[in-house]
C-alpha cells in the first residue's frame, strides 16, 4: 500500500429536506462515487451513514483534499464533516450543471421542498429564481400523492408515460391539487391520466412561478430528485416544446457542485483541508437549542457538540453566539452595537 500513489479527490455533500447526497470527484471533475439517500429528518445521522456507505464504495486509494457542503443543512453538515467551503444550493447546482454540460443555457431543478430555475451563459449564471414559501409542485408533494394512491414513487413515471392525455388538474396549490385529483378519481379517470395530469399541473405551476418573464433557451437540463420521474420530463417537453436533457447524475448534482466548489477554493488558496476523515461517521454529535433572551428578539440559538466540546453555535441575529466567527469579531461583550 505504501508505494501506491493516492488519487487526489474532493468530497461534496448536499443535505436537503428530503435527500442527503454525497459525491466524490477527482481533479478532472469525474465522479468516482456517489450516494443518494433520504435525510428522514435526521441530517447528522444521514451524513454519517452516507459517509460510511461512501467509504465502502470508493475505489482504491484516494485522499480527500477538500470538502464542500451545500443544501438547507449546509452549516450543520459543514460542522459535522469539517467543510472547507459552505455554499448555497443555487450556486452549487449551477456550477455542477455548467460543468457537466458547458453549453447549457437553462437548468430546471426540482428537489424535495424547493425548486429553482437557473439561466446560464457560457457556463456562468446570469439569472436565477427560487420558489418562495410555498412548496407546491416539489418532490414532497409527489411523495405524498404516491403514498395516497398506493403507488411507489419510483413507478410514478411509468404510469404517466402510459397516459395518452393528462387529466386537467389545478396545480396552483397542493391542497387544491389534491382535492382536484380526488374529484377526477371519483368521476372515473384512469390512474395514468391522473398521474400524468398531476405532472402537467406541477410543470405549469413551476413555469408560472419561476420562469415568469424569462426566456428559456436550450439546451435545457432537468435535475434534482424529481427528474427521476419520467412523467415530469414528458410534461416539461410537452409544455416547452423542446427536448429536455436529464444528466447522468441528476439526483446528486448539488453534491457534485459542492465538490467542484471545494476543488476551486482549495486551488485558489493553498491550505490544508479541514476534513475530519471518514471517521466522522462515528463521532457522537449532539445538538440542542436555547433562547438567548439578551434582547427582545429572543433569538433561538442552535448548539452542536461532539462529546462535551461545543463545535458551533448559530441562529442569532447579532452574531454574538457564533464561534467560528470569533476571529472576525473580537468583542463578545453584550449585544453588539454594530448593525
Amino acid at each position: 500500500m505504501g508505494d501506491h500513489i493516492k488519487e487526489d479527490a474532493f468530497l461534496g455533500i448536499d443535505v436537503g429536506s428530503v435527500s442527503t447526497n454525497l459525491a466524490v470527484i477527482n481533479v478532472k471533475g469525474e465522479v468516482l462515487a456517489y450516494i443518494y439517500r433520504r435525510t428522514q429528518g435526521q441530517p447528522i445521522k444521514a451524513v454519517q451513514q452516507g459517509l460510511k456507505e461512501l467509504e465502502s464504495e470508493l475505489p482504491g486509494d484516494i485522499s480527500i483534499l477538500g470538502v464542500g457542503t451545500t443544501g438547507s443543512a449546509r452549516y450543520l453538515s459543514g460542522v459535522v464533516v469539517g467543510a472547507d467551503i459552505v455554499k448555497n444550493e443555487i450556486t452549487a447546482h449551477a456550477v455542477a450543471a455548467g460543468h457537466v454540460a458547458p453549453e447549457v443555457r437553462t437548468v430546471l431543478e426540482i428537489g424535495g421542498q424547493d425548486s429553482k430555475i437557473i439561466l446560464l451563459k457560457d457556463g456562468i449564471v446570469v439569472d436565477f429564481a427560487m420558489n418562495s414559501v410555498c412548496a407546491a409542485g416539489t418532490g414532497s408533494f409527489l411523495d405524498h400523492q404516491s403514498a395516497r394512491l398506493g403507488i411507489p414513487i419510483e413507478e410514478f413515471g411509468d404510469y404517466a408515460l402510459k397516459a395518452d392525455e393528462g387529466a386537467q388538474i389545478a396545480g396552483r396549490c397542493s391542497v387544491f391539487a389534491e382535492s382536484d385529483m380526488i374529484h377526477k378519481q371519483q368521476v372515473g379517470y384512469g390512474l395514468e391520466e391522473i398521474i400524468y395530469g398531476l405532472c402537467q399541473a406541477l410543470v405549469r405551476n413551476y413555469l408560472n412561478n419561476l420562469a415568469k418573464g424569462k426566456d428559456l433557451l436550450g439546451p435545457l437540463v432537468f435535475q434534482g430528485g424529481v427528474a427521476a420521474n419520467s412523467g415530469m420530463k414528458r410534461a416539461f417537453e410537452a409544455a416547452l416544446n423542446t427536448e429536455v436533457i436529464i444528466p447522468k447524475y441528476y439526483n446528486v448534482m448539488g453534491a457534485i457542485g459542492a465538490a467542484l466548489l471545494a476543488h476551486e477554493s482549495m486551488m485558489f488558496e493553498e491550505r490544508k483541508t479541514n476534513f475530519k476523515g471518514f471517521a466522522a461517521a462515528d463521532f457522537n454529535y449532539k445538538t440542542s437549542s436555547f433562547s438567548c433572551g439578551c434582547c427582545e428578539n429572543n433569538c433561538e440559538i442552535i448548539k452542536i457538540k461532539v462529546d462535551d466540546k461545543v463545535l458551533a453555535r448559530w441562529g442569532g441575529r447579532c452574531g454574538k453566539w457564533e464561534l467560528d466567527q470569533a476571529n472576525r469579531r473580537r468583542d463578545t461583550s453584550g449585544v453588539s452595537s454594530s448593525v
Binding site: 438547507s72 455554499k87 448555497n88 444550493e89 443555487i90 450556486t91 449551477a94 457560457d122 457556463g123 456562468i124 449564471v125 446570469v126 439569472d127 436565477f128 427560487m130 418562495s132 414559501v133 418573464g213 426566456d215 434582547c295 427582545e296 428578539n297 429572543n298 441575529r317 452595537s337 454594530s338 448593525v339
Partner: protein, 321 residues
Amino acid sequence: MKVGYPQALLYYKYFPLWERFLGGLGAEVVLSGATTKNTVSMGTIAAESELCLPVKVFYGHLLELKDKVDTIFVPRFVSVEKKSYTCPKFLGLPDMIRSINDELPPLITPKIDLDKGWREYFRTIHELGSNFSSSKRKIFSAYRAGVLALRDYHNQLQAGSTPIEFLEKKKYRKVKKTGLKIGLAGHPYNIYDTYTSMNLIKRLREMGAEVETAEMLDDNIIKREAARLPKKLFWTYEKEVVGTVFHWAHTHSVDGIIYVLSFACGPDSLIQVILEHELRSDTALPMMSLVVDEHSGEAGLITRVEAFVDMLQRKKMAQLC
C-alpha cells in the same frame, strides 16, 4: 410634553426635520427604538391581516410608545409634491390606527398636502406648532432649523452614509472590498429597517459588496429617469424607486440590483412588473426581487442573497479571465 415618534415608515425620510422642529418648540421627542420581534408580533396582532408588513410594524411601534408618552406624532401624508400622492395607506394612517383596540394617547396628526400649495402647508405647520407655542416667530424659526437639519441629513446620505448610520449612530464594520457594487432598491422602511430587511445591508457589506441606495443618488437624476415612463406614476415614493432602478439599468453603475418589496404592498406589486419589464433583455443588469412579510424566514433570504452575490462575483471573475 413627551411626543412619541414611531421609528417606522416615513421616519427614515423626515425624522431630522420633525425632531428638530418639535424639539425646538420645547417638546421631548421620544423614539420607539429599532424594530424587534416583539414589535412585529404586537403589530401583527393589532393590525388587520390584509395590511402590508411596514404598516403592521408601524402599529407595533405605536403600541411600544403608548405608555411612555403624552402624545404620538402621526402625520397624515397626502402629497409631498404637486400632482402626485403618497401610498393610500399613508393618506389614511391616522384613521386606520383608530381600529387598534388598545387605548392610545392622543395623536397629533397634521395633514401634509403639498399638492394644495405652500401657503396651505405653512398654515399646517403653524397649526402644528401652536400645540407647543403661541409665538409664530418661534414656530417658524424652529421649523427653519428643522429644514436645515433635514438638508444636513440629505447631504450625509448623498455622501454615502445610510440612514441606519446617521439616525441610529451605528457603524458598519469595515470589510474587505471585492469591487462589487449592488444597488439596493425599495422603500426606505423596508431596506433600512434592520429587522424587516434581516440586516440586508450589513450582510451585503460583509460579503464584500458596496451598497448603493436611492438616498445616495441625486434627486434630479431620479426624477429624470422616472420621467422615461410613458405614463406618470401617481405615487411619489414609488416614482423614486422606479427612477433609481432605471438609472442603474441605464448607466450600469452597479453590478446588480436587489429590490426589496413587501408582500401585501399594492404599489410595489405594480412597479415590480415595470422594473422586471425594463430589465428583461439579455444584456440588462441582473435584478433579484426579495419579498418580505412577517412569515419570511431568514434561511431563504440568506440563500438567495448569497447566490445572487456569488453569481455577480463569478461573472466578474469570468470577465477578468
